[in-house]
């Protein structure tokens, strides 16, 4: 599904990602963890096309993504959420999803005019489903900037899946959530996997990562130090050192 091949990203002298190799299989939830500054968000930004890698390549369904803009990658089937929520605050919840209804199928099946006007009943129905899924149906006409924090997180997830991606990259979706909200998020992720979506989950909330992922890779200083099932990772010595053995990491 997704292959990261000897990928590097250097910011001046800092090697944010350093010769990284990863394979994400179709239909799995793949956890990506590591101490702060280990290169997880940089990796997500490279996969989405926001940052260009210094070297290396990324293959999505066997094809290189090199040189494609984020919008083009979305249309090939890769969507993402942001670590610090980036909604369109001046638009309503409904409009946020309206803007994002931009999948390959939509482009193929609709004329350019009807796609831009965006009044097809199918699109409206899909947005209704999306609102139902994220438990925001009663907030459809509320400005995104007026939503509570948890609701903003839910809307961002909904906006990402509105384009029906095959690969979903989530950058710390549980940050700042309470216990109950993390539980709901876990349920949503399971339901998305059941629908056939592949998910890469960057997360610090271990309860979520250990509970929902099929496999986990651990990054430290831009390199992979371990990979395996949640059980294996919890036993791993190198991981324990990375998390606990250094006083300047949290």
């Amino acid at each position: 599904m997704l292959e990261v091949k000897t990928l590097s990203k250097h910011f001046g002298g800092v090697r944010a990602v350093d010769g990284l190799d990863l394979r994400v299989e179709r239909g799995e939830i793949f956890g990506l963890i590591g101490p702060n500054g280990s290169g997880k968000s940089t990796l997500v930004n490279i996969i989405c096309g926001v940052l260009q890698p210094t070297s290396g390549d990324i293959l999505f369904e066997g094809r290189s993504l090199d040189g494609r803009a984020p919008s083009a990658r979305l249309r090939t089937g890769i969507a993402r959420t942001f670590q610090n929520i980036r909604l369109f605050g001046g638009l309503t919840v409904w409009q946020n999803l309206w803007v994002a209804g931009n999948s390959t199928e939509d482009i193929k099946s609709q004329s350019i005019v009807s796609r831009w006007i965006g009044t097809s009943t199918r699109l409206k129905k899909e947005i209704e489903v999306m609102l139902e899924f994220s438990d925001l149906a009663d907030k459809a006409d509320v400005l995104a900037s007026n939503l509570a924090f948890g609701e903003q997180r839910r809307l961002e997830l909904a906006r990402a899946i509105a384009a029906k991606p095959r690969l979903l990259l989530l950058d710390e979706p549980a940050a700042g959530m309470n216990q109950a909200e993390v539980g709901e998020l876990e349920k949503r992720l399971r339901s998305l996997r059941k629908q056939g979506m592949t998910i890469v989950l960057v997360e610090h909330v271990m309860q979520l990562v250990m509970g929902v992922t099929d496999r986990i890779a651990v990054l430290n200083f831009g390199s992979k130090i371990a990979e395996g099932t949640p059980e294996n990772i919890q036993q791993d010595k190198a991981v324990q050192t990375a998390y606990l053995g250094q006083s300047d990491e949290s």
Partner: protein, 303 residues
């Protein structure tokens, strides 16, 4: 009577100018090039009716095409800069256009008199309406037909997905890009549409005043163009109209006895508005108050 018709015409022309900037500001582009596009539209249409004796409608259409084409070309380098840098770059374009007209001398002799743009002396005798026997109120209706049509088109597009996409790009380009919006296409399209509307405003202006001068198309005009939508608010097109009526009708005409002190008031007004109504005079709050007063139920984006 003619005084009021002239004022109404000015309001219509400036509304179009403000709407051309409104489209761009929605996508987060603060463009001072609107004065340049306005000037290009004015000179193009005037040259076509005066020298080539085209009919007014075809001259207006051509002016919109030329201004829109130029805006399309300006749109690409404009992608590389934003914020203050875009303001500076677009001022440069407007000044470039103005200097071009300052130097443009293209006179032909017809019926014993020289007509056409005459460099520093300006471009006089754009008398299409006069020569064809249009009455003043007919000119006003002609002009306002364009204003109403453009307002209706933008108002309608604003309520379709197009409006949401323009605003999304204005809010957060990175998020818009990651949501699958081709930001380049959206921004260049907005710049082009803005150029077309500014060109239309200019072509109407040229025939209404009958006399062009490069001094009209300065930074001050560009400032007015962006001040209207900012002062009026970006909620919908009527904010721009309200702001034009307020500035042109009340401030510029109503307070004429104050002379050049009006410009001081204009600056003060912007500061006051920014403090008390940062989202514009016609923001959501104002709309809610109006709707409550008129007993209209609010319809959300999902309708």
């Amino acid at each position: 009577m003619d005084y009021y018709l002239n004022l109404i015409n000015t309001i219509g022309i400036h509304t179009l100018l403000g709407l051309s900037a409104y489209l761009l500001i929605l996508t987060g582009q603060v463009s001072m090039a609107q004065a340049g596009f306005f000037g290009v539209g004015a000179y193009t249409a005037a040259i076509l009716t005066v020298i080539f004796q085209w009919s007014i409608l075809s001259a207006i259409g051509a002016a919109m095409l030329v201004a829109g084409g130029l805006a399309f070309l300006v749109g690409f380098p404009a992608l590389r800069v934003r914020g203050l840098m875009l303001v500076v770059a677009t001022i440069a374009f407007s000044e470039f256009a103005r200097m071009f007209f300052y130097n443009l001398r293209w006179q032909v002799v017809r019926d014993g008199t020289e007509i056409g743009p005459n460099g520093t002396m300006g471009f006089a005798e754009i008398r299409y309406f006069n020569n064809n026997g249009w009455l003043n109120w007919e000119v006003t209706i002609f002009l306002w037909t364009f204003v109403v049509v453009v307002m209706a088109i933008i108002w309608w597009s604003d309520r379709t997905r197009v409006g949401a996409v323009l605003r999304a790009v204005g809010e957060d380009e990175l998020a818009a890009d990651s949501t699958g919006i081709n930001v380049t296409v959206v921004k260049v399209a907005a710049m082009t549409a803005g150029g077309v509307v500014a060109g239309l405003a200019g072509s109407l202006y040229a025939h209404q005043v009958t006399d062009l001068d490069h001094h009209t198309f300065t930074v001050l005009l560009a400032t007015f163009a962006i001040a209207y939508p900012i002062l009026g608010g970006l909620t919908n097109v009527f904010g721009t109209l309200v702001a034009v009526v307020f500035i042109q009708g009340l401030l510029v005409e109503g307070l004429r006895f104050l002379g050049d002190w009006r410009m001081l008031l204009f600056g003060a007004l912007i500061i006051v508005a920014m403090n008390f109504k940062p989202m514009g005079l016609f923001d959501n709050q104002t709309i809610r108050i109006l709707q409550n007063a008129l007993g209209i139920k609010r319809r959300g984006g999902s309708t």
